[in-house]
Symmetry: C2
């Protein structure tokens, strides 16, 4: 059905009916505001924009994947504070040519992750727009003291969860549109990492609960860019060992001449990057076992004046542009 | 300065520096998520989109006014629940041709109202976009039980705050671009009502505190449209007396042949529309005195099957299209 026939209120009603009432939701979609419970007397708030032709291209992203990813990337921000994602507010700008089925597909993507993660969609806004954009605001619970970017100290270890570069390499391969390549298992893995990122909520919350991480951020703009945010906020420098970067076997088999470029500066990993005391190494290893998420020590915090360095296995400096995404800077 | 030179992080830093740290903000702009206090263990959430050429036109809206209005319309939603606006998350899609001074002007508009109202800007997202849009999410405190749209009963009185139609008539006159007209005091008043709406936070909160309103909504899409939302949620009908509609003297002097059309269906009034028991009339009158905001009884709740009717002073039915804004329906 054309959205112009369904109308704004018809669309809202359709979304309301398809949305399960979540835990802690006292009043969900359909009034002037949603009314939700917070457990600790404080909460976390994060927001992300996803704009067509800036953050995504419908040529290689389905609306289902876009919905899923919208929630996942916001959950990742809450995870990076050590919080628990709880309530989603979702605003959509939709081109008039879209059908209600298109919008349904987007919300199905949202729902598939919200059901798994216990996040409730509680409200938002919709409007016609020239091109598609998604604006999400996610409220998280903060049962433990949130972990900021600003607490790392000289001598701390630097860790990342999961593997790096899969998403960026996956996008690069998607753009090549090679049917032969796309049939490969390794490529499929990378595509899936690009479309369906995993927010590391449990790892983040445990790091907060056990006061293990002194500074934390999620990697959305590329390892180096996001590490630079920790460096700036904590007033430290960092040395990263290139050979320690956790790379998936799919990445290793398909990166070719790109080497570690996507892992260092690709972006959209949505893995956690955090700093912890040297004396907590065994506790971090234990956390890896308990959560079944790979956690890799990739470097060390050094003095601010030493800046950020990536060293290869022979101890030579790897040439890195301080790349990463900046949506206003021309490429 | 061009935004492409300032960059995304430069812009965020600029906004962060210009933003006063608000009450209850434990961590504001600049980390993965903001961390804020909630007093009652629950909170209210509302979101609004403002899209260029759909909700506003920069030909007759300054960026300062747009900023002010962005916060005001979201505050109005929280007011309509009887809550207190507290924390603002603000996401902006900005055309690459904008200067950082343009963005500054927008944030000055936000700031002028946030300082007055005690709302703290705590985060958001920014990106380049084809045309300007603003996506806001506002968190409110709920010290009293929120007032929904669903509690009105047959026989209840229907009230509105302030005056109706000023904003819509103001916009109509702005579009005429008549210098002679624009110099008139009455026109200036209407323009100001359009650009700088007043969220009725104190009235809303008092109605919630004293459990006076049984159902409430703010008038954003026009009196009739928003009254129909109350009727649907409360399963009632409504009779409105046209002669009781509160009209400003500016409206009366400039509406001409439009009569009460803008007051009934114009939209963007951001006044409160609520239903209360007949026996509470004197308490409502007292509230009007205490808050110094006009509160006018305009009608009565009737049986659902009688629908919604507007009667003129002779008791005849006023022809009303169930107009009001629907951003997907063609005009």
């Amino acid at each position: 059905m054309k959205l112009s026939r369904l109308g704004e209120f018809g669309l809202i009603e359709r979304v309301r009916r398809a949305t399960p009432r979540g835990r802690g939701v006292r009043l969900g979609i359909g009034d002037d505001a949603a009314w939700v419970q917070t457990r600790s007397g404080s909460c976390l708030l994060t927001a992300d924009l996803l704009i067509e032709d800036v953050h995504f291209d419908l040529k290689w992203t389905s609306l289902y994947a876009l919905g899923y990813k919208t929630l996942a990337v916001n959950m990742s921000d809450i995870a990076a504070m050590g919080g628990t994602p709880a309530y989603l507010m979702l605003s959509l700008g939709i081109p008039a040519a879209f059908n209600s089925e298109d919008v349904d597909e987007f919300y199905r993507g949202i729902r598939s992750l919200s059901v798994k993660s216990g996040v409730a969609l509680v409200g938002g806004d919709t409007s016609v727009a020239k091109s598609l954009f998604v604006s999400a605001c996610l409220v998280g619970q903060a049962p433990y003291r949130p972990i900021t970017r600003g607490g790392a100290r000289i001598g701390d270890d630097i860790y990342v969860t999961g593997t790096l570069g899969d998403s960026a390499l996956g996008l690069t391969l998607l753009k090549r549109k090679s049917p032969k390549l796309s049939a490969q298992r390794a490529a499929k893995f990378l595509f899936s990492r690009h479309h369906f990122p995993t927010a590391r909520v449990r790892v983040g919350a445990t790091l907060a609960k056990e006061k293990l991480a002194r500074a934390m951020i999620d990697i959305s703009d590329g390892l180096l860019q996001d590490l630079s945010h920790i460096c700036k906020a904590s007033r430290i420098g960092a040395i990263v060992a290139e050979e320690r970067l956790p790379l998936s076997s799919a990445y290793r088999s398909l990166a070719g001449a790109d080497g570690t470029r996507h892992a260092l500066a690709g972006g959209e990993d949505y893995e956690l990057l955090f700093c912890a005391r040297r004396r907590d190494r065994s506790r971090i290893t234990k956390l890896e076992e308990v959560t079944d998420v790979p956690i890799t020590r990739i470097g060390t915090c050094v003095h601010w004046r030493d800046g950020m360095t990536v060293l290869d296995r022979t101890g030579h400096r790897v040439e890195t542009r301080t790349a990463g995404h900046d949506h206003f800077k021309p490429l």
